[in-house]
């Protein structure tokens, strides 16, 4: 994190901004798709709460938000997968209701999902024309014509593959291009792209952006969902931020300060520093040993991790900061031997971990509390006792025969220490509350007496009381000399719980916050790719009306961005804050 050459230009590389301007949608561009006060509930969750969204012809509209913000639900409501409980959809000004995805498609809304949703065994051409194959005069599929048209279509995207090849013989990036070709060829007015670049190589990303520019010229509206800030600023015209199922902001992206965007996504106001407020972490730091217990260098894995390096010392809580998709969970999994790496090394007490395996990492003293409690943590059909001793079974056995007495001792100790509420150790874990399940998992790892504890979202989805207990426990464990790695999307928890925070972006470590800098401001700035924390930019004039945001910074560059050409001049939008 070198402070000198300040960030303004990173906000939107000028060369990238050029195509965006050419077809930049003016406020006069007609609105193609509109959602008014859309609400959607699922059992126990309000996924969308009175969300409005409007999409203009020829614009690329970024849709951003963290986990649970409601992005996917909104997309699904727009594309006929979900039927909203309330609110209405307007397509070119006319109210519409989609009962099925096919109806939305017929109305000109195409979607490219994160996972390619094509038919793997069918040919490229058949995938592109599935359901609307060109026919010959006998009513049969006109294969020559179909193949020629498919080849021409793909050629326009710079993709040269034989359209007769089965789809699954292609690379994932090319498959994505085929999905795109299909979406575009169905006379779409709106193309929704859900994290289209997550599996693309840089070269393919360039092709994608070219296609998007082409769509823009043809007045097709694009909804673009991505976590990659650089992409958003490069390709998008406007941005809508959702958080916890609510609409937070809509406005031109060019005039929007990056840090402000991140703070809206996370729901933290800049300068709203409340150190030691609401969480249950102790206020003083921990006695941290000098010598690291765990050292990771250059961890890399295709599409997920790109040069992650960090050190973890006994007695400290190291926070791992980053936005969704930055590689936090992947890092934790890699450290725990659960994710095969292409490159990099993990050392524990100086000794390199050999072949990557969970068992090896556990033997070396590394324990991981996984993010997805249900899928990767609990064995729901087994009892509390069996879930606690699961990883410790070999240690509680002699000659392969499990000692019930030793099990009971361990289970008793941890049920008391963690105050696990169950009718008995024999109750099935699947019947417990989320908080108690989480405590059972913590007990599973703690009874191994690890040196390093990796906690991935330890308090997500558990009630307030359990949350406080878990936070206090983390504190206590670090005081006892355990090295703890903490991942949390709750920025307050991360800042208050951590002695130090390593920041990840796009799968790589990009900085570290220590001492005074372990603050929400500094973290937000780091997440937003700013070199230094800024003063809050009073920037409240963002509405759905589409009025460009006035650049309110007292900036030296001064020139407020011209109306309707936001990406052309991004510099003044970013802060000039040399401190």
């Amino acid at each position: 994190m070198a402070p000198p050459e300040a960030a303004p230009f990173e906000a939107a590389p000028p060369e990238a901004a050029t195509p965006a301007t050419s077809g930049a949608p003016s406020s006069a561009a007609p609105t193609v798709l509109e959602a008014h006060g859309v609400g959607k509930r699922f059992p126990g969750v309000v996924a969308l709460d009175d969300v409005s969204f409007s999409l203009r012809a020829g614009e690329v509209h970024a849709l951003v938000g963290e986990n649970g913000a409601g992005k996917s639900t909104l997309i699904k409501a727009l594309t006929g997968v979900h039927r909203p409980d309330s609110g209405e959809l307007l397509l070119s000004g006319r109210p519409v209701r989609f009962a099925r995805p096919s109806e939305a498609q017929a109305a000109g809304i195409s979607t490219i999902y994160q996972e390619v949703n094509l038919v793997p065994l069918m040919s490229v051409a058949r995938n592109i024309f599935l359901g609307r194959e060109p026919r010959n005069r006998f009513g049969l599929i006109d294969f020559p014509r179909m193949h020629a048209e498919a080849a021409a279509l793909l050629g326009g995207f710079g993709v040269t593959v034989d359209p007769r090849r089965p789809l699954d013989s292609l690379g994932i990036g090319t498959q994505q291009m085929v999905a795109l070709a299909r979406a575009v060829s169905v006379e779409a007015h709106v193309v929704v792209m859900d994290e289209p670049t997550s599996s693309l190589e840089p070269r393919e990303v360039e092709t994608l952006f070219r296609i998007i520019d082409d769509l823009r010229r043809r007045d097709i509206a694009v909804v673009y969902v991505s976590h990659r800030m650089d992409e958003l600023y490069r390709i998008c015209d406007r941005v809508t931020v959702l958080r916890d199922g609510r609409h937070i902001h809509t406005g031109p992206i060019g005039g929007l300060d990056r840090m402000r965007l991140v703070s809206m996504m996370l729901g933290r106001e800049i300068s709203e520093v409340r150190r030691h407020g609401m969480t249950s972490f102790g206020s003083e730091g921990h006695d941290v040993a000098r010598k690291p217990v765990l050292t990771a260098t250059g961890l890399a894995r295709r599409h997920q991790l790109d040069d992650v390096s960090l050190e973890l010392h006994p007695g400290e809580v190291l926070g791992l900061g980053g936005l969704l998709g930055s590689g936090r969970s992947e890092t934790a999994k890699a450290l725990a031997g659960a994710l095969a790496l292409d490159a990099g090394q993990v050392r524990v007490d100086g000794a390199p971990l050999g072949r990557f395996s969970s068992a090896g990492a556990i033997r070396a003293g590394i324990s991981l509390l996984p993010e997805d409690r249900k899928a990767e943590g609990i064995v729901p059909g087994l009892s509390v006792r069996e879930n606690i001793v699961l990883a410790a079974l070999p240690r509680l056995s002699r000659l392969g025969i499990v000692s019930r007495a030793r099990q009971d001792r361990v289970v008793d100790i941890f049920m008391k220490r963690l105050r696990i509420k169950a009718s008995s150790p024999e109750q099935k874990v699947g019947e417990l509350s989320g908080g108690n399940q989480q405590k059972v998992l913590l007990a599973r790892w703690l009874c191994l007496e690890p040196k390093v504890l990796l906690l991935d979202e330890p308090t997500r989805g558990i009630d307030v009381g359990a949350k406080a207990e878990v936070q206090a426990l983390i504190d206590e464990l670090a005081q006892e000399g355990l090295a703890v790695l903490l991942i949390s999307s709750d920025i307050e928890e991360l800042v208050e719980g951590s002695d130090r925070i390593v920041v990840l972006r796009s799968g790589g470590t990009v900085g570290e916050l220590v001492g005074e800098n372990v603050s929400e401001d500094a973290l937000l700035a780091a997440l937003a790719d700013h070199t230094t924390p800024t003063q809050d930019s009073p920037n409240p004039a963002d509405t759905t009306t589409g009025a460009p945001v006035p650049a309110a910074e007292p900036s030296a560059a001064g020139s407020a961005p011209a109306q309707a050409s936001p990406p052309a001049d991004p510099a003044p939008a970013a802060e000039e804050d040399p401190r």
């Binding site: 659960a338 990492a361 990767e376 943590g377 064995v379 059909g381 699961l390 990883a391």
Partner: protein, 324 residues
Amino acid sequence: MTTQATATPVRGTGTRRNTAAWLQEYGVYAAVAALLLFNAFFTEYFLTADNLRTQLIQVAPIVIVALGMALVIGTEGVDLSVGSAMALAAALLPLYLGYGLVPALLVALLAGAVVGLVNGALVSVVGLQPIVATLALFVGGRGFALVLADGQLKQIVNPDLLALGTGSLLGIPLVVLIAGVLALAVAFLVHRTTFGRQVVAIGGNRRAAALAGLPVKRVLTGVYVLCGVLAALAGVLATSRLTASDPSSLGTLMELSAITAVVVGGTPLSGGSVRVLGTVAGALLMQLLRATLVKHDLPDSTAQIAQAAIIIAAVYVARERRSR
């Protein structure tokens, strides 16, 4: 011998679910008891030592195979190749009986282990679906057995082997005794050993088990090897009862009988639990049901229909219970 008999459901589940839970837990025992009771009153010569002996001898090979199958199903898998493992064991026996019973027996069991090893490797290392992986040996194993035996049915004259099939200890047929001892051993394995608990955990949540450092591949392979060895043993016992090695028809449809016993015994096909005693009772139930109907002069086809009804009921009960 259930996995968690003492677990108390806390949530207010509907009576329907409670009934389903009770049925899955105890239904098979109740059904066996009801059948015995019915026969005690309405079937002549049913509750005689002779008849019970016959029934138990007939069911013993199924029980032995079903024990291995229960372990496999506990890991959310299935083994279709058990019948072929039986046939392989039967084909190998006459080839090695010249060296004595013990070497021949070991070779036969080894063949079962190899079948299991191949299945286990295909499932755990290659990552094939169990049903596909074991289908390969379901087809290939029997073919190989027929090649070994030249497609011939061979008379067994070795007195030691014949004694295994016909002998008895304290009035209990050896075959039944072996099945009983194996049932106890497998129950011990499931409930008291590291391996057994790992089997259940892997079946309950494979990803969680892997992240907890369990040797998933080794355990899965071990389960298939055990299943293969048990099937081979069943093949040996069945051969000695038949007094002939018959690789072309021995053990055909055995995989279905075994799966039926396991499912009727209350082990869910979705894995995560192995009910050993339930499996034994499941095999007994199917056997008694057929015997009862046959004794009442109903054709075998009726028995098949009745068995089908019970399988559907068992699967339905399991499904009702899971949908919480």
